[in-house]
């Protein structure tokens, strides 16, 4: 007989779909995101199969446009952006800060419903025939020429934006108001700092996206001149507005991943994160400076040279706080008692892949090189190293780390390590050849290409096959553990955070007694034993 917890408190559908418990809402998000991840992944699979040969043999040009557009839209807005904040964040934030729930539980549930509504509208676009603009909806194509379901797709993204705003708002208020007694700002785990920084971006940037998408619909449906020069608009205005949101959105995607990595590196090195304050403030610095770099997406768009120079410089500046984090994680490993459990394998993979993604970002911040690399596979490889190699790897790492807490079950360590290694290998084989392809000039968004590019494309498609299998594996062994896994103890990793000082899975009210925090996070004794934050 297991103790009462949030999973066995009630079993009815109503108790799930009308819950205001942050833990159950996290599970609702988790299940939804699996669905969207595999839909977006199916589109990517079709793309990689098509690109295995130089000629078109699977889909038409028009269908190919719709495939990569849906892949982008679903993966960005319906997987990457909500992934860590809405699943792991939703579940862990209140536990980590010693609270009973988020500040606005009903707003939290509304956020999930808005997300599902936005996702349903977007999936309707797929069923109705798709959209061919690319995930960036660039004008004038999206407003004047595209014969696909642009207005419906932007409506789906528009609605999901409100879900993002509500989540960001909820986290900001929760972190300000609901911290346990003694949990000062500098005692907060770095996962919280990174989600706080993410929330600020969510709240400040997403309204601009919403406004921009409305303007597309206004021009497309009502003919008001906003982006079309023939009726008094400016097409670059769209790019400015879109990237004012969408570049910070990259940090919405990666900052939570960085937050997870702090927890993993510290726990599996049995050491406090090196330079805690630097890492904490680096999150806020990334959030702030990340707003000043959007023009690096527009170097060849006809933007002024002065603007390009300023955006280029700021893009180099934003690399500094990211580099601080990487150096500090590496320093944390130094003289640690390193354990290669599955979450740590993901964390180490993250550091390598994120570093490659970040450094190639500096190539693209260079004005001259960017002219050569714009719209080539170099860019595709770069941002996949950040978003997939970085963010998705961190998501999987966090998922494995907190899985025993979320489900009360232990998974197969053997299969988890196998999946981690396969993901690392498959990912590199998929995307590293794309750097070469891009440097040699292969443009993105075409499904036919000169035969001399085939060898790299075959390598990439082969890697994608391994990656697809590796991403499917957790579905089986985590699914198995859900029903047949051994019961997890409260603190299987022997970690000091507050979330580990309550049973697995936690009771509905999280803690039997209000935790009182007495020390900073990540404290381990000289013999590497965890010193709980509330002891």
């Amino acid at each position: 007989m297991t103790d009462a917890n949030y999973l066995n408190a009630e079993y009815s559908l109503r108790s799930w779909f009308f819950t205001t418990d942050h833990k159950r809402i996290a599970i609702l998000y988790f299940a939804s995101l699996i669905l969207f991840f595999f839909i977006g992944g199916a589109a990517a699979t079709a793309i990689r199969i098509e690109l295995a040969t130089p000629q078109a043999d699977l889909v038409s040009s028009d269908m190919y446009n719709r495939l990569f557009t849906m892949h982008g839209i679903i993966m960005v807005w319906f997987f990457l952006i909500p992934s860590i904040p809405n699943t792991l964040g939703n579940f862990i934030v209140p536990l980590m800060i010693g609270a009973r729930d988020l500040a606005f539980p009903r707003l939290n549930l509304l956020s999930w419903y808005l997300f599902m509504l936005g996702g349903t509208v977007t999936l309707f676009t797929v069923l109705a025939g798709g959209i061919d603009t690319g995930w960036t909806f660039y004008t004038p194509f999206s407003t004047l020429y595209s014969n696909s379901y642009v207005a419906v797709a932007v409506t789906g993204v528009f609605i999901s934006g409100f879900s993002s705003i509500l989540t960001g708002l909820n986290f900001i208020v929760t972190i300000h108001r609901l911290r346990a007694p003694g949990l000062t700002w500098y005692r907060l785990p770095l996962f919280i700092w990174s989600l706080y920084a993410t929330s600020i971006i969510l709240v400040l940037a997403t309204p601009v996206l919403a406004m921009t998408l409305v303007l597309i619909a206004v021009e497309r449906l009502l003919g008001v001149g906003i982006f079309d020069p023939a009726i008094g608009g400016d097409p670059l205005l769209f790019q400015h507005l879109f990237w004012f949101y969408s570049h910070p959105a990259v940090y919405i995607m990666i900052l939570p991943g960085m937050g997870v990595i702090n927890e993993l590196i510290s726990c599996f090195s049995r050491k406090a994160v090196f330079g805690y304050k630097f890492v904490a403030w680096a999150s806020l610095a990334i959030a702030a400076v990340g707003f000043l770099v959007w023009g690096h997406h527009m170097f060849v768009s006809g933007q002024s040279l002065l603007a390009s120079l300023v955006f280029s410089f700021m893009s180099f500046v934003v690399a500094v706080p990211s580099a601080i984090k990487v150096f500090n994680w590496t320093a944390t490993l130094h003289k640690g008692s390193i354990h290669f459990d599955a979450p740590m394998l993901y964390a180490l993979a993250f550091i390598g892949l994120f570093t490659i993604g970040g450094l190639t970002g500096l190539f693209l911040a260079c004005l001259a090189y960017d002219v050569h690399a714009t719209d080539t596979y170099f860019v595709v490889a770069h941002f996949h190293y950040i978003m997939v190699g970085g963010m998705v790897t961190a998501y999987f790492g966090g998922l494995h780390y907190w899985w025993p807490k979320m489900t009360g079950r232990l998974y197969s360590e053997y299969w988890a390590r196998t999946a981690a290694v396969l993901i690392f290998f498959g990912f590199n084989l998929t995307f590293f050849p794309q750097f070469v392809l891009g440097a040699e000039g292969m443009p993105r968004r075409y499904h036919v290409y000169p035969p001399e590019f085939q060898v790299w494309n075959v390598l990439s498609s082969g890697g994608a096959t391994i990656l697809a299998v590796a991403y499917l594996l957790p579905l089986f062994y985590l699914g198995y553990s859900l029903f047949f896994g051994a019961r997890a103890p409260a603190n299987p990793w022997n970690a000091p955070g507050l979330e580990w000082q309550t049973p697995s899975p936690p009771p509905e009210h999280n803690f039997d007694q209000q935790p009182i925090v007495t020390r900073p996070p990540y404290q381990y004794s000289p013999d590497f034993k965890a010193e709980p934050q509330n002891a």
Partner: protein, 91 residues
């Protein structure tokens, strides 16, 4: 029966917004050249201030909330500043 008082200040703010809207539309028809835009923007700023102070109740809020509201304004400034840098310096 509830003792909820009628929100007179909200009604007043709404009437002020409607009046300012009428003013904006009326002045847009006067041939004032570049001043048309300046006047419209000024009226827009007053409307935003009314919404922030009264509908969003920022006039009763603590410093933290004001900082976040101010951040929204500041970030809008960044959008306009760096965006205009392109438009004003294109060759």
């Amino acid at each position: 029966m509830t003792n909820w008082p009628p929100p007179l200040h909200l009604v007043g703010a709404w009437l002020a917004l409607v009046a300012l809207l009428v003013l904006t539309v009326s002045l847009a028809h006067l041939p004032l050249g570049a001043f048309n835009a300046a006047i419209a923007m000024s009226i827009g700023a007053v409307k935003a201030a009314i919404v922030a102070a009264i509908f969003m109740e920022l006039r009763h809020r603590d410093a933290t909330t004001l900082i976040f509201a101010g951040a929204g304004l500041f970030w809008l400034g960044i959008l306009l500043w760096l965006g205009m840098m392109d438009f004003l310096t294109r060759t």
